[in-house]
Amino acid sequence: MAGNDRAEATEEVVSRVTRRRKAARYAVPVAVAGVAAATVGLVPALAASGDPNLPKISAHDLVQKIAASDTQQLSGSVKITTDLGLPSLAGLGGSMAQSMAPGGAGGHSDAASGSSADPGSKLMELASGTHTLRVAVDGPKKQKISIVENAAEYSLIRNGRQVWAYDSASNQAYHSTAPQGSDTKARPTLPKGTDVPTTPKQFADEVLKAAGPTTSLTVDGTSRIAGRDAYDLLAKPKQSGSTVGSVRIAVDAKTGTPLKFTLAPSGGGKPVLDIGYTKVDFAKPAASTFDFTPPKGTKVTEGKQHAEQHATKPSRQEQQGRSQAEAALSNAKVIGKGWTSVLRLDGPAGAVDKGAKGDTSKMPGNAQSFVNSLGDKVSGKFGSGTVFHTRLINALMTDKGTVYVGAVSKQTLIDTANAAAK
């Protein structure tokens, strides 16, 4: 019907009018898209602006507040971001485990280590990347942590003495019964000092005294975490040479519960570890949250049996590894104090040499070259060695088999090793 009534107009005018009308109509979708894009860009900026105004508080009082906090019940979502500066650990761990597993996956008789619901195999995934966790706590006896995955979830549930792990992606469960004594274990959010400091004030005193010579502890403003007002407690090493730049803990102003923990490297850049609530609720979680009955058809692995099997019949490899580890640990020595302390592991030269050689020969070629590419060759009074570098931890492995590990810079590590080798 449009255009019919304009029959008498000249063609030129018609085409000009329609062109203008067309342009005007196309402005509508463009405007809608523009508004949407602007909203996406502006809303987080608006939400983030404005730290809450809270009464001033001293570092001592804040530490005391944390210690006095009596949060028994909470539920919420936690976002954890880890950036150790390593290539994806999960993938590496998987490929290493696969290629190094004796007899391959098919001939592996131990059911437990093949279960994807085994808590140990899941923890590796949290060591790199960003993950969303859901947490629910109801007193010291009921806890639940779930790793949110795409259309699946891995849940670790503790209800009294029953500990369940359920991996919905593979439909497998893992069950174990906690020993009797562990019922009295403190809640996971903050291990309450049952031993030495008995009051929150004492606890705060102890913490500040211990931190005194090496750490500056300050209250560094306020922030809003998961919709709650929080104080930021900032801990910074006083010594130079540490790879830790600062540790920042956001503490809920009302309850004293730590809501966010950020570990920044001294080298700058993204935090090495950033873990904090995105949502938190201090109400009692529904009791059904902690009930787990393995659904029919779910493969259940019993954790207890698994442990007994190992205790009675450890494999030869494992025995060898354990004795090596024990020997190495017996020779471990901490050099230095505070943030720049370095752990020195003096392996019995022969054993470690042999062990290391044996290990590397067993490693697949790509893994060995990967390990080599990570390290830098260095030399000093300790002889020569290789420094393995991450954003947080550095390790020096001398050719003699001594290992120095610490959250210190590469230069500090070499200096420490030089001093120790004298």
Binding site: M1, A2, T18, R21, K22, R25, Y26, V28, P29, V32, A33, A36, V40, S75, S77, R134, S146, V148, N150, A151, A152, E153, S155, I157, W164, Y166, S168, A169, S170, N171, A286, S288, T289, D291, F292, T293, P295, K296, G297, T298, K299
Partner: protein
């Protein structure tokens, strides 16, 4: 042809509405216009629905969608008949839980069809909606009906959305029937490990079906817009489905992570969050918002194109 019949039914609707004046209107002429306008929209929508669902093509697409859950159910049954567990080599989400509870076949089937099958059928229907009429030469007859292009476009979009819901429900219903026949039913274990009753599990399945249908709202608008650009139905369908595949590929490349959140398909699988306890609404809401934005942008673009288009065929 069905088109002639459709316009005929629209005309019937108009005469019947004109014949029954409602109440005691102060201005009968104005109310009559309003009423006939409403009737026109409804009549157009009804005729669009009839033309869409009477086509053999539509029925064939729905039959293919109905076959997917049946095939998945049978495959899982055969694979697990020896006592093994399903989906150890990957596969769509929820596949492993199907053996515990037949209800999970609904989720598994929707998770399997949502990435490609479902939107492909929607792309065929929406892509053909305007361009197909144009190619068959029926579009100008439709425009002779004094309903206006905007109403015609709205009726076509509404018919496409109805197809989205129908296609999703076909998958869900066939999956539920297959699951009930082949696997046990009973209390449902959510993916968070808690147990809910079968009734509330069914309710969640219905919610999931609606969410999946809503996930296709934005894509249907894109199909409609593409359909107004060309006079060839085949070209419009191919372009729409091609766009879908391109977007899915972009969404799967981790290096392009910066743009993922803006793709219409990025939050499609968020329906799985309904099966958590407590339900995690964040991504579900993001999905609905992104679908609404896509529908608005491409709906208005389709309007801008169609209302100024020279219709010659």
């Amino acid at each position: 042809m069905s088109r002639a019949e459709a316009t005929g039914s629209g005309a019937d609707a108009r005469t019947s509405s004109a014949g029954t004046p409602g109440g005691t209107p102060p201005d009968p002429a104005a109310t009559g216009r309003e009423r006939s306008g409403l009737w026109w929209t409804f009549g157009l929508f009804r005729s669009e629905l009839l033309t869409t669902f009477r086509r053999w093509r539509t029925l064939a697409l729905l039959a293919v969608l109905a076959a997917v859950p049946v095939l998945i159910g049978i495959a899982v049954k055969i694979e697990t008949s020896g006592g093994g567990s399903a989906g150890e080599g990957g596969g769509p989400a929820f596949l492993t839980q199907v053996t515990n509870n037949g209800l999970f076949l609904v989720f598994a089937a929707l998770a399997a069809t949502l990435p490609v099958f479902l939107p492909m059928t929607v792309g065929v229907i929406a892509g053909d909606s305007v361009a197909g009429e144009s190619a068959a030469g029926t579009l100008r007859y439709l425009l002779v009906v004094p309903a206006g292009r905007v109403r015609l476009l709205l009726a076509k979009y509404a018919a496409a959305l109805t197809f989205c819901l129908a296609a999703t429900l076909v998958v869900a219903v066939f999956a539920l029937a297959t699951g009930a026949v082949l696997f046990p039913l009973g209390d449902v274990t959510t993916i968070s490990g808690t147990t809910i009753s079968f009734g509330s599990g069914l309710l969640r399945a219905l919610l999931v079906a609606v969410l999946v249908a809503a996930s296709l709202v934005g894509f249907a608008a894109i199909g409609l817009f593409v359909s107004t650009l060309t006079g060839s139905g085949i070209a419009a369908m191919a372009a729409t489905v091609g766009l879908l595949i391109t977007v899915q590929i972009v969404d799967s490349i981790p290096q392009l992570g910066a743009v993922h959140a803006y793709l219409f398909s990025h939050y499609w699988l968020s329906f799985a969050d309904v099966m958590r306890a407590p339900v995690l609404w964040d991504d579900v809401v993001k999905n609905l918002v992104s679908q609404a934005v896509y529908a608005l942008v491409f709906g208005s673009a389709a309007w801008a194109r169609f209302s100024t288009k020279d219709v010659t065929a």
